[in-house]
């Protein structure tokens, strides 16, 4: 066998079903071996798209996502995708070709220091020196990517290694003495956590991205205790958003109820989150009266930003059931009433004062899909609207770039998720700005013919930036205007062979959404919405979560209340 055949055989052994990649000179031997491999390959049109697809494939399925790129420009194109996966703890194995070992360090054609460049944006990376290393390196790569706190791993394979002959075994032991994730939570700490929860009068649970692996365990804990639940942007779907105990999303564009609950609670039970600044706002004003119980698999997240009074390091799959065991119904009737009061006072609402309004489109999408779809988003106002109006009921189903906030993530992510979840409809909520950052993947979408409904909330601007400029930069709208040079998105879709519609009014919107969801193929819907829409509430940068600007979420009789419950 050659090194390339070894790579393909090992991927097969690791259960890889699909690879997202783009060929080039330094990875041609691997592509040659791929030619005879049963593994499906999705030809992306930009390596960044491939990395996001692999990332979303993991998020949607729990199976490690794999992407391929060639040396130099191919590999550097992966960087944003790797950083995105790293920030959101997504298990990706990226394999890059490199120039032959003898040429490394000589500024050879298409040579880049990929090992050096990708170190800071991966959980770990490898430069394979000899073909004999391949079985062990790949075994370790999959192990590291998928265990503990998941993350991306890059394996750089020089061309001579791909071509080298190998007739050794494919099985290999992993040898990682410095890598021992803590899975089992400390019994004493779990007991202390239970004591703290029992003693609380106003507890609230906050579930982050780690919650995507434990929706059942979260539900059992909540059912047993009656504790109210907040799900972060990354935690959407870990607990049903329509449940009585659900308070929605916290933080900068969180719900009033969630942020008020944080400000008034006396205990936070944090599970699988990292207290990102978009969640906490100003730390000194974050949950000032709360005892913080923090459960996380990564010890480095404990007390990094918010001091944990009761830290529990471990896998939520181990810790949550054991914690539930030690808990019974909590005596928090009064607190639950207060929260129910806030939820009633501050429902999601919007005014139908324009021919089309972003939130109503999301409400229509929710209705048309009966909440039973996978949602992917780009980054911006539309993302925040989607998090609030279209949160999924299932885990692993709301695919968004939370940590890095990568514009251009959404379209490839929708493709990766649709491949991971065959048969399910994927709704991509996109902005007119973000979508253009990886628009070339429309070709991939066309070719794979996946049931992806692209809903562009086309406000003609970089809306989120515009919102900040309006509120904090004295309406000095610097370089946010897109409308004068946006493409005709419907025509653009059609140029790629995808059905596209430009939509200006509610009636057309409704029927077009219904048809698109039923179509079970890619459809692009370009909704024209008002450029000055704003996402409220908003916690200004540097302010506390108790200092929200309510904006149009102010309780007031003129607006149509939009109940989140369904």
């Amino acid at each position: 066998m050659t090194g390339s055949e070894v790579v393909m055989k090992l991927l097969e052994r690791h259960g890889v079903e699909v690879i997202f990649g783009h060929p080039g000179g330094a990875i041609m031997p691997i592509y040659d071996a791929l030619y005879d491999s049963p593994i499906k390959h999705v030809l992306v049109r930009h390596e960044q798209g491939g990395a996001h697809m692999a990332d979303a494939y993991y998020r949607a399925s729990g199976k490690v996502g794999v992407c391929f790129a060639t040396s130099g420009p191919g590999a550097t194109n992966l960087v944003t995708g790797l950083a995105t996966a790293m920030m959101d703890s997504s298990a990706v194995v990226a394999i890059t070709g490199n120039v032959a070992s003898g040429l490394i360090g000589t500024d050879a054609f298409q040579e880049a220091d990929v090992y050096g460049i990708t170190g800071p944006v991966t959980k770990h990376n490898y430069l394979v020196k000899r073909v004999e290393e391949l079985p062990q390196v790949l075994a370790e790569a999959f192990h590291i990517a998928s265990t503990g706190r998941p993350g991306p791993v890059l394996v750089d394979v020089p061309k001579d290694v791909q071509l080298a002959k190998y007739d050794g075994p494919l099985d290999s032991e992993i040898d990682l003495p410095g890598y021992k994730p803590t899975i089992v939570g400390h019994a004493g700490q779990i007991r202390k956590a239970a004591e703290a929860v029992r003693a609380a009068k106003r507890p609230v649970m906050i579930v982050g991205g780690g919650g995507q692996v434990v929706p059942r365990e979260v539900a059992e804990l909540v059912e047993r205790t009656g504790i109210p639940v907040i799900t972060t942007l990354m935690g959407i779907g870990a607990y049903p958003p329509a449940a009585e105990e659900s308070l929605g999303m916290p933080g900068m564009h969180g719900t009033v109820s969630a942020n008020k609950a944080i400000s008034h609670c006396d205990l936070i039970l944090g599970a699988g989150l990292r207290f990102d600044d978009r969640v906490t706002g100003k730390i000194s004003r974050f949950a000032p009266n709360a005892t913080v119980v923090h459960i996380d698999i990564d010890p480095a997240e404990i007390s990094k930003l918010v001091k944990a009074h009761v830290p529990v390091v471990g896998d939520l799959r181990d810790v949550l059931p054991r914690l539930t065991q030690e808990l019974g119904p909590l005596d928090i009737g009064e607190w639950r009433e207060t929260l129910a009061g806030w939820k009633a006072t501050y429902p999601e609402k919007y005014t139908l004062d324009k021919p089309l309004v972003s939130q109503e489109i999301l409400a229509m999408l929710r209705e048309a899909t009966a909440g039973e779809c996978v949602v992917a988003t780009e980054v911006g106002q539309h993302q925040m609207f989607a998090a609030r109006m279209l949160p999924t009921t299932k885990a692993r189903s709301f695919i968004t770039s939370g940590g890095l906030g990568t514009m251009g993530f959404g379209l490839p992510a929708a493709i990766g998720a649709a491949i991971a979840r065959k048969g399910e409809t994927v709704v991509l909520v996109a902005g007119d700005g973000s979508l253009q950052m990886n628009i070339q993947e429309l070709a991939t979408l066309y070719k794979e013919n996946l049931p992806v409904v692209i809903a562009i909330l086309n406000n003609g601007v970089l809306g989120m930036v515009r919102q900040w400029q309006e509120l904090f930069h004295a309406q000095r709208y610097s370089e946010i205007y897109l409308a004068d040079s946006n493409p005709d998105f419907a025509k653009l879709a059609e140029a790629y062979g995808i059905e596209g519609h430009n939509i200006h009014d509610r009636e057309t919107a409704k029927s077009a959404i219904r048809a698109a969801v039923a179509a079970k193929k890619p459809v692009l819907l370009n909704f024209f919405v008002y450029e000055a829409e704003k996402v409220f509430p908003m916690v200004p940068a540097g302010a506390g979560v108790d200092e929200m600007i309510l904006g149009d979420q102010e309780p007031d009789a003129h607006r149509v209340p939009e109940p989140v419950a369904r």
């Binding site: 050096g116 800071p120 430069l127 590291i144 990682l176 003495p177 410095g178 010890p299 480095a300 990094k304």
Partner: protein, 175 residues
């Protein structure tokens, strides 16, 4: 520039820490560690790398200064690196540390030569090279001793000096 391991301050919130990090001999480990320090706002004052008693394992010693509340975070982040085996923060009193310095001092006349050799003897510095116009000394010891020796030699004219940076080991617990 002086103080015991892990104990001193430079006046701001920044404290000096001596971290001993055992790593696997893999390419790129040092870059990752150095990158971590830089990203978290730590200034590396000295760094030494050497083979340890275990084959395939190197012991690196970093003297870094940074805010106290971030050092714990850095230690945890170091521990997360796959090729890092152990991280020990040497707090004053629980570790022994040493540094090696080579120093070349100018000699202008025989009187000075005698004086310099006398001082060197007090510091137990070894003479490595003797020339008519200069002497090269080797000094080992803790940082304070190095600093003191430099001060003593300064009036004669230091031509060149090089210090290895600290290396440290935990003391064995009594009993």
């Amino acid at each position: 520039m002086s103080g015991a391991a892990g104990g001193s301050t430079d006046g701001s919130r920044n404290k000096r820490h001596v971290l001993s990090v055992a790593v696997r001999d893999k390419p790129g480990v040092l870059v990752r560690i150095a990158g971590l320090f830089a990203r978290r706002g730590f200034n590396i004052e000295s760094l030494s790398v050497a083979q340890s008693e275990r084959p395939g394992v190197s012991r690196t010693t970093f003297v870094v200064s940074g805010a106290d509340d971030t050092i714990e975070q850095v230690e945890k982040q170091l521990q997360k690196l796959i090729d890092v085996l152990t991280v020990v923060n040497h707090t004053a009193g629980r570790s022994v540390d040493r540094e090696l310095m080579l120093l070349k001092v100018a000699v202008r006349n025989p009187d000075e030569r005698v004086e310099i050799r006398q001082i060197a003897q007090d510091f137990r510095a070894r003479i490595l090279d003797v020339a008519r116009t200069a002497l090269v000394f080797e000094v080992t010891g803790d940082e304070r001793k190095m600093d003191a020796f430099i001060e003593q030699m300064r009036p004669f004219g230091i031509v060149e000096l090089i210090r290895t940076g600290r290396i440290a080991l935990e003391r064995t617990a009594a009993g």
